[in-house]
């Protein structure tokens, strides 16, 4: 009895102790997780506190209301008015106040996006996203956007410096307010990582991120792998320097051949301090060389790679199985070549882990301009739709900016002061990517911490980083930098990248000057400082047309030139603001492909990794007056759609067909469509911007139909659909599905046997190496062969037992396409609508499922004006559509123009997204339906004040 009682007491004590231990453990764990988080789980207590946590982000989801806000630093009150759709108009009494207010407004609506973008560029994503962000951080810190931004800031002066400082002040005013009231965007509260103050360098980094997305390419790495797998002959034939088709260049010459503009070989090294060549050699004093120096004669060789584009093809095409050339690494030894290919593969695999769109992957953008008789009522018209990753929130924030001497409206980039695409009181402009080769790779000779360059061993500059990781240990990274740039590979053959995005480029000063330009002369002058990304700056104005241009136009019109855009002259008139011509024409158009086009010595092959010993260093860039351009062409039309902007006789190297130049299908169709639609109006431009006609299909389908001997009912029905098709890739078109599946299968039938036989390592970089529609050089090849070389040896395959000719391959591909669709879609061919297999999606920039838009059935493909890039669920395309009318000024407004700088310029625009980044806001995705349905909203005129919601910002 006593023993039982004792046992019972002991059991109770054990239970009490167990309960106490359990209570302590549970309480500590609960409070620990709630107070400090665990791993990537945020501190749930402060995050979900209903009074102060992420819930408070609801306040920024409120519809915006009129109020007065205190914004320290303003010298005078600033008015910010919003249309009912959220489009902002900022009216300030000075440039300083205007930029400060823009920074404040950007931060008010896009703070989390801005912070995420600068984190991405500065290699601090892992601090927010945890270990999954480390790959991106290491890449960015190696590449050096932050180092370049610091170098650039050190050189920034004048108006750009003042603008950046004022802008940063505005952003910091908002951060201070949010910090005070605790209404952080939910992303910050949930991660427990809050934004540090904004600096001008952050703005430059964001600009660098955009540059990287448009300009950092891997084509030389892909080419190295292709060459190893397919052999030099096939690679050169199928990925030629010049495309196999016509690409409708806007600058058809005649061209100037001027001496290169010299640049230091280490202009893009990204070394801290922005070391010039002199400084670099001073700091990096040569180390005793154990081997003989590289041949100086190679380096001093005159003439650039290929001499011209055409020669570039010949150089490669005449190779003997191994691409030749003094500077090509691949030519020295096969072992060396393999090492370079290995390194290329390694680097590609590393880059493949980056989020989609972080480096350049697709051709992007349209911009068209028309003037004179091509425009209904005279004047000029400009349309622009940059194709970029489509995300929520968008990369754009629409705004009109007004201050004395500064009137601009259009698309701004959160984080950057100024209007990137838009118009002011006299001119309008839009941008498309030029796609020239701006990323060069160098295989370096390394010994310890030194590299061999120009005859001696030199120490690499080492930069050390510590990368904070949310929920994990900080990572360490050392970046070695040579004269060419940072070493990007981690093992084996060391490869440095010489990327023009790392050239300190005062793009912001150029942007501000563009915003204020009144004519083409000022526009061109503003672009003189633009280095990267190389862009086709498409232009239109409302100025009188100089008499010379008008007469040239008249003669060209009468001769009905077949040339798409025979330039009157590569050089714009010195004074486009000259008095009105006798003809009284108004409205000039132009394009200028500003940026650096690096040139290497003759014999070097910039489309492959090159020797880093000094023989293939960049020796200069194309002189400013000789870069691709056009002004008031006799055709009265300028079309830029990422096509190769110049013809084969252009005397400088700008890149190969693998450099993401668009195959010219969009450009060709635009020229054809605009010419047919003359005289043009804004609605003509809108119709073209939303067109989903596939011009490649219009060329290929008749040939396909002619080659068919349909055997089954399904094939006959599919062929009948193609016969009656209008080549529209509309979501409801079944023929569109058949065409696209056929084209993909046709490419596969012809090229895949070669890829398999050569063991092309497609997995290293599917975008650059896989066979498929959208692999531009292969599209161009097959188009050209089908049209004019139907017995090309490629059809017979590596075994020689493939297809006899194009017709046989097409017939086989068609059968396979029909069979594949019948099994995957079922039902009759008329039910295989494009929208069933093709959609668009606008994912959240956070990558969070549920906060994006779509996927939604959609028309379009990569070849249509309304482009859909990124696969069958497209995530890239027209990110902003704008049409600017620059009509002949009315007499009333002409009188006003002289006194108040007013004009009749009007613009409409739309982007798929909304002004607010808060998914709970009514302005988060409110513009998507408009965009989707091809509608536009008026772009507020600079200086206008909307009757709706108004903020008064007061310092």
């Amino acid at each position: 009895m006593y023993a039982r009682e004792r046992r019972g007491r002991r059991n109770r004590r054990v239970r009490r102790i167990a309960s106490a231990v359990g209570a302590v453990v549970v309480s500590v764990a609960l409070l620990g997780v709630m107070g400090f988080g665990y791993g990537t789980i945020p501190a749930l207590g402060p995050a979900l506190d209903p009074g102060r946590g992420a819930w408070t982000s609801a306040s920024s989801g409120d519809p915006v209301s009129s109020r007065t806000l205190r914004v320290p630093g303003l010298s005078r009150p600033v008015t910010v008015s919003f249309t009912s759709d959220g489009i902002a108009s900022i009216n300030a009494a000075s440039d300083h106040d205007m930029f400060l207010a823009l920074g404040y407004v950007h931060a008010k609506f896009r703070l989390a996006q801005m912070d995420a973008e600068r984190r991405l560029g500065e290699g601090r994503l892992a601090q927010l996203a945890g270990p999954s962000g480390l790959v991106s951080d290491k890449f960015e810190l190696r590449l050096g956007l932050l180092r370049t931004a610091r170098n650039e800031w050190a050189r920034t002066s004048g108006q750009a410096r003042k603008a950046l400082i004022a802008y940063a002040k505005g952003v910091n005013d908002d951060i201070a307010q949010v910090r005070a009231n605790g209404d952080w965007p939910a992303l910050f509260t949930l991660t427990g990582t809050y934004p540090r103050p904004w600096t001008p360098v952050d703005s430059i980094v964001i600009q660098g991120v955009l540059t990287q997305e448009l300009d950092y390419t891997t084509s030389p790495l892909d080419e190295a792998l292709l060459k190893r797998s397919l052999g030099a002959r096939n690679t050169t034939s199928w990925f030629p320097a010049l495309p196999a088709n016509e690409s409708s260049p806007y600058d058809t010459g005649p061209y100037k051949k001027e001496p290169l503009t010299p640049v230091p070989p280490n202009v893009a090294s990204s070394a801290p301090g922005g070391a010039s060549l002199t400084a670099a050699t001073t700091h990096a004093s040569p180390v005793a060389s154990p081997t003989s120096p590289a041949s100086p004669s190679t380096f001093t060789s005159t003439g650039e790679a290929g001499g011209s584009q055409g020669a570039g093809v010949a150089d490669g095409g005449e190779g003997t199985g191994e691409a030749g050339g003094a500077g090509g690494v691949a030519t020295t030894r096969s072992g060396k070549s393999d090492a370079v290919a290995e390194a290329a593969g390694q680097l590609l695999a590393q880059l493949g882990q980056l989020p989609t769109g972080q480096i350049h992957e697709y051709p992007d953008s349209n911009a068209w301009a028309a003037n004179g008789p091509a425009v209904a009522g005279g004047g000029a018209l400009l349309g622009g739709d940059p194709h970029l990753p489509q995300t929520l929130p968008s990369v754009w924030y629409e705004a009109a900016l007004s201050a004395p001497g500064y009137q601009a409206a259009g698309a701004t980039v959160p984080g950057v002061p100024g209007v990137l695409l838009g118009h002011n009181s006299h001119i309008a402009w839009s941008l498309t990517d030029t796609q020239n080769e701006a990323t060069l790779y160098y295989a370096e000779r390394i010994r310890g911490d030194s590299y061999f360059w120009r005859g001696s061993w030199r120490p690499m500059t080492a930069v050390h980083y510590t990368i904070p990781v949310r929920g994990g240990a900080a990572a360490r990274l050392t970046v070695d930098i040579t004269a060419h740039g940072p070493i990007m590979t981690q093992a084996g053959q060391k490869m440095a990248v010489d990327w023009m995005g790392n050239v300190p480029s005062n793009d912001l000063a150029a942007l501000i000057r563009i915003n204020q330009a009144k004519n083409f002369g000022q526009f061109k002058a503003a672009l003189a400082g633009w280095r990267a990304p190389t862009q086709n700056f498409t232009y239109a104005d409302d100025n009188p047309v100089p008499a010379s241009s008008a007469s040239a136009s008249a003669s060209a019109s009468s001769s009905a030139s077949a040339s798409p855009s025979a330039s009157a002259s590569p050089s714009a008139p010195a004074s486009p603001s000259a008095p009105a011509s006798p003809s009284g024409q108004v409205g000039n158009i132009g394009v200028y492909a500003a940026g650096y086009y690096p040139q290497v010595p003759k014999g070097c092959k910039p489309w492959l990794p090159m020797s880093g010993t000094g023989s293939c260093d960049i020796k200069g860039v194309i002189p400013y007056n000789a870069i691709p351009q056009a002004y008031d062409p006799p055709s009265h039309l300028i079309v830029t759609a990422n096509q190769r902007p110049v013809s084969a006789s252009y005397p400088y190297y700008i890149g190969t067909s693998a450099d993401f130049f668009d195959p010219g299908y969009r450009a060709g169709y635009a020229y054809q469509s605009l010419r047919a639609g003359e005289p043009l109006s804004a609605s003509s431009i809108a119709a073209l911007q939303t067109s989903v006609t596939d011009s490649l299909a219009s060329q290929m389908v008749p040939k396909l139909v002619a080659s068919l001997h349909a055997a089954t009912p399904g094939e006959r029905a599919a062929a009948a659909l193609l016969c009656s098709w209008n080549y529209s890739m509309g979501a409801g078109s079944a023929a569109a599905t058949i065409w696209w599946t056929f084209w993909d299968d046709y490419l596969s039938k012809v090229f895949s046997p070669w890829w398999k036989a050569g063991h092309v390592p497609v997995g290293k970089d599917p975008v650059g190496l896989a066979v498929g529609a959208g692999q531009v050089p292969l599209d161009e090849d097959l188009q050209a062969w089908t049209t004019s070389d139907p017995s090309n040896r490629a059809f017979r395959g590596p075994s020689g037992h493939g297809y006899a000719n194009a017709s046989a391959a097409m017939a086989a591909a068609f059968r396979e396409a029909v069979s594949h669709l019948a099994s995957s879609q079922g039902g009759p061919p008329s039910s295989w609508t494009w929208g069933k297999v093709h959609s668009r999606e606008f994912p959240s920039v956070t990558g969070t499922a549920g906060l994006g838009y779509g996927p939604r059935a959609s028309g379009g493909d990569p070849f249509t004006e309304d482009a859909a890039d990124g696969g069958m669920t497209a995530t890239a395309g027209p990110s902003w559509r704008m049409i600017v009318s620059l009509p002949r000024p009315s007499s009333t407004s002409s009188a006003q123009a002289s006194s108040a700088d007013k004009s009749d310029i009007s613009a409409i625009g739309v982007y798929p997204g909304g002004q607010s980044e808060n998914p709970a806001s009514p302005w988060y995705a409110n513009l998507v339906p408009l965009w989707w349905n091809g509608k536009y909203l008026p772009v507020p005129a600079p200086g206008s004040v909307d009757d709706g919601v108004k903020w008064t910002l007061d310092g």
Binding site: R16, S19, A20, G22, A23, V24, V26, S27, L30, L31, M34, G35, P42, L44, G45, P46, L48, D49, P50, G51, R52, G53, A54, W55, S57, A58, S59, G61, D62, G182, A186, L187, L190, S844, T846, T848, A849, G850, L851, N918, P919, A920, S921
Partner: protein, 119 residues
């Protein structure tokens, strides 16, 4: 009944007001406090009070016309949970509930005889 109502009101007021002040751990403290009390009913009443106390700020946000439901959906999505508003609301209120329970358990486990048990 009066005592229960009074305790409920006090807990609601305390948790709601301190939530606005950013003191998210107050439900745990309340749990410890009621755990030291011997009445069996205090814990369920405190739990209910804390849950209502944390629901109150959310309700007021909604009353002000702020997009509480949409915000809840956003939070759930960003946290990697199914993007539905009720998920975030349930998780938030669950945190209040768990804190009170854990606090009460801790108090009763460590100070089992602090007060004589009464019903």
């Amino acid at each position: 009944m009066v005592k229960r109502s009074l305790l409920f009101a006090c807990v609601v007021a305390a948790t709601a007001l301190t939530a606005w002040a950013g003191l998210w751990f107050v439900p745990f403290v309340i749990g410890v406090a009621v755990g030291l009390l011997s009445w069996r009913w205090v814990v369920p009443v405190a739990v209910a009070g804390a849950v209502v106390g944390w629901a109150l700020p959310l309700w007021i946000l909604a009353l002000r016309g702020q997009p509480t439901g949409a915000t809840a959906r956003v939070i759930a999505a960003l946290a990697g949970l199914p993007p539905h508003a009720f998920v975030t609301v349930v998780v938030t209120l669950l945190l209040a509930l768990l804190q009170v329970l854990a606090g009460a358990w801790l108090a009763r486990a460590l100070v089992p005889y602090a007060w004589p048990r009464r019903t």
